[in-house]
């Protein structure tokens, strides 16, 4: 029949599977009803949300980027029977995702209300704060498998620091999230206070695709089609990896762990090779770099797997995994979005037991200190 799903499962994979629980580094919860989030918003911002809603840094005035490919970019089977948007019903998420896939931990990634792309920074700060509280009250408190991220949009750096301090005191968040599409590339010094704080606190920096910085998402301008825009997630991630490395973030913050989320990983070799070659020619332009770009990439960055690249030939995926390094990859499903990866079938090439242990569990356990 098809050679896609029928990839033989190696005996050692079968054996490993029974012992291996999965850490899913990208699970999207969503807000069931506005009232849920409003209880965490000061009156002034509740009023603002009702009256003005979102005012985003996109050129599409009065529109949101939804729907993209499918309503709320969701799997068609992920709409909870109780109503509400996909990802908004914990019981259904347990039944459809956490239990059957044996998820040991799921790391929450909230995208609702375009948290990082609000033109009004004060409003953006208020909803980030509200969502940080909501993640605990509605998710982590109710299911200890689900771990929250501190949303700390970097364009309002002062707010970000204050919010990181506030949440770190609560002590139940596993990473600090900033946005890959902000006003300036992530390596810029204006953002460094966030990285300094993340390093001191020992919290990884999470960078999940998406957001609108007000700039075209590609260097070539605004895409016409969603399929074209989706492609640009990889360019954005490559640009941010380049910026972080070349502006010296890992050099300056050697203990900071940086996790790229939902960017896939097929683009990493080429981005790194290019940096590496150019570094040889231009290294006196960036004397603050004490090591080669590839060394920073291989020691300070991790990448979640979804959306996984699917070359026609499995061996190409294998070379990719080998080049990026099985110790750099963290499994992510992107549940409940339409391009969800099922851990059983996502890798169209066999993995050794050691690789499976790292990718599906061990690496995330170490990065997030579970």
């Amino acid at each position: 029949m098809s050679d896609v799903i029928d990839r033989p499962i190696l005996a050692e994979e079968e054996a490993a599977r029974s012992r291996l629980r999965i850490i899913d580094c990208d699970v999207h919860p969503s807000i069931h009803a506005h009232a849920d989030i409003e209880q965490f918003l000061p009156k002034r911002w509740q009023q603002h949300l009702r009256t003005y809603g979102s005012h985003l840094r996109t050129p599409y005035i009065g529109t949101t980027p939804y729907p993209r490919s499918s309503p709320l970019i969701a799997r068609r089977d992920a709409w909870p029977p109780t109503g509400g948007p996909p990802g908004s019903d914990l019981d259904f998420m347990r039944k459809q995702h956490l239990d059957p896939l044996d998820i040991e931990y799921g790391i929450l990634q909230v995208l609702d209300l375009f948290i990082f792309s609000q033109q009004n920074l004060e409003f953006g700060a208020a909803i980030q704060r509200a969502i940080n509280d909501w993640q605990l009250a509605f998710w982590s408190d109710r299911d200890p498998r689900l771990k929250a991220s501190i949303l700390a949009g970097q364009d309002d750096t002062e707010f970000a620091i204050a919010e990181i301090e506030r949440c770190a005191k609560i002590g139940r968040y596993v990473q600090i999230n900033v946005c890959p599409r902000a006003n300036e590339p992530l390596g810029r010094r204006r953002y460094w206070p966030i990285y300094a704080r993340a390093q001191e606190l020992g919290l990884p920096l999470g960078i999940h695709v998406g957001g609108y910085g007000g700039h075209a998402p590609t260097g070539g301008g605004w895409p016409s089609y969603y399929v074209e825009e989706h492609q640009s997630n990889a360019h954005t991630m490559a640009a941010q990896l380049t910026s972080l490395v070349l502006e010296g973030v890992p050099e300056r913050f050697p203990n900071l762990k940086i996790v790229f989320i939902e960017g896939g990983f097929g683009w990493i070799p080429s981005a790194t090779w290019r940096m590496e070659r150019h570094f040889e020619a231009f290294r006196d332009e960036v004397p603050h770099l004490k090591r080669r770009p590839s060394e920073y990439v291989k020691e300070h960055f991790w990448f979640t797997t979804q959306p996984i690249d699917e070359p026609d030939e499995g061996r190409h995926l294998r070379s990719l995994i080998e080049w990026v390094g099985a110790d750099r990859l963290l499994f992510s499903s992107d549940y409940p979005h339409w391009d969800f990866d099922d851990p059983r079938y996502a890798f169209k090439t066999p993995l050794t037991e050691a690789e499976r242990r790292k990718i599906f569990n061990g690496n995330a356990r170490a990065v997030y200190k579970f």
Partner: protein, 137 residues
């Protein structure tokens, strides 16, 4: 191949579908434009349940700006990554050389004909009130 009665025709309304467990397999039967199609309820890509697929049309475009729909309702769009499959034979429109959903022959026969077949217990009377959907697995 054994023939299995899975439903009455009226159990699956036009445009609808239903999953049946047949010989340990989940098989989804679609009712489209008066015809029935049976496929394994599992996408060959990553295993999504095809019962949640969208029944769509074939969309082609001879040139930019001109779109044509054909075979309305006969193509399945997987609920996850959107790969499309032909209900008639499980053929993928996404990567037709490599990927296929397993499909099964389906027939509709009247209860009257079936009465004569091996499926009726001799001792019980059968009321004939509908047609039956039969899947061969």
């Amino acid at each position: 191949m054994a023939r299995h009665i899975v439903a009455r025709t009226s159990d699956i309304p036009p445009g609808g579908n239903k999953v049946f467990g047949v010989e340990g397999r989940d098989i989804v039967v679609f009712h489209v434009n008066g015809e029935f199609f049976a496929l394994l309820n599992r996408c060959p890509h990553e295993g999504a349940p095809l019962v949640k697929a969208a029944c769509v049309a074939r969309l082609t475009s001879p040139e930019p700006g001109v779109y044509q729909r054909s075979r309305v309702g006969e193509l399945l769009r997987c609920p996850w990554h959107g790969w499309e499959f032909d209900m008639r034979n499980g053929q993928s429109w996404f990567d037709p050389q490599r990927v296929k959903v397993r499909s099964y022959p389906v027939a509709v026969e009247s209860g009257e004909e079936l009465q004569k077949g091996p499926y009726v217990a001799e001792t019980f009377p059968v009321r004939v009130e509908d047609n039956y959907v039969i899947v061969e697995v």
